[in-house]
Symmetry: C2
Subunit: 130 residues, 2 copies
């Protein structure tokens, strides 16, 4: 899923058209890796840039950087930098607003799990009857 949502929603909103509330919500996680980024922050806690790179398996730095920027822009994710001596440490974490997305993400996960289980059963059923 690309981000036709985010751009379109932002245009609508800046034109005073607020009839896109559900699209607005989806635009929070419509980047290809955003859901997974949020999932990691929810389950594994705060993460540095490299840790996210590893856990995301196959994202380029540019893309990860962009998706994080948008999440920060949308106030879903917070970036903190702590400097100890001459080493800088970056950490990304969920904001309070980001935390309010957790029930939604869990619901998405549950629906997908149930649906995939259904599909699997159907496939087996069809195989048996072939």
């Amino acid at each position: 899923m690309s981000d036709a949502f985010r751009t379109t929603v932002q245009k609508k909103l800046s034109n005073g058209d607020f009839d896109c509330t559900k699209e607005f919500t989806v635009s929070m996680f419509s980047g290809k890796h955003k859901l997974m980024i949020l999932w990691i922050l929810i389950n594994d806690g705060d993460q540095g840039f490299a840790a996210l790179m590893n856990k995301l398996n196959g994202v380029s730095k540019k893309v990860l950087s962009n998706q994080l920027k948008e999440l920060i822009d949308d106030q879903i994710v917070n970036k903190s930098e702590t400097i100890t001596g001459n080493t800088k440490r970056t950490a990304y974490s969920l904001t309070e607003i980001g935390l309010t997305l957790v029930p939604i993400i869990n619901m998405l996960n549950d629906w997908g799990k149930d649906r995939l289980a259904q599909v699997e059963i159907t496939q087996k059923f069809n195989q048996v009857n072939q």
Copy 2:
């Protein structure tokens, strides 16, 4: 949002990788107009092609056609054709599986409404304090 989700998720699934349950759910409505299509079917009941075109405001036939095809493919939407005499009537409706998305879509709508209200209040607050 484009449909990087749908394609990616389908590839993962066909490779036996089922670790994308939430992405799978989002892929159900990741096309630019799918959420709105579902919203219309939920609130206004079954619709013909032309009715959807009108209510969607600015979609091209090709795009609408594609998004409907994918929704049908995902078993979220059903297409029925009734022929009376020599006139054919097409109607799109939600399937039983499609109906199970309703709570999710309502949740998305609620979150967006609340969040936009927050943002609006914040903006007014900032204006007052300028």
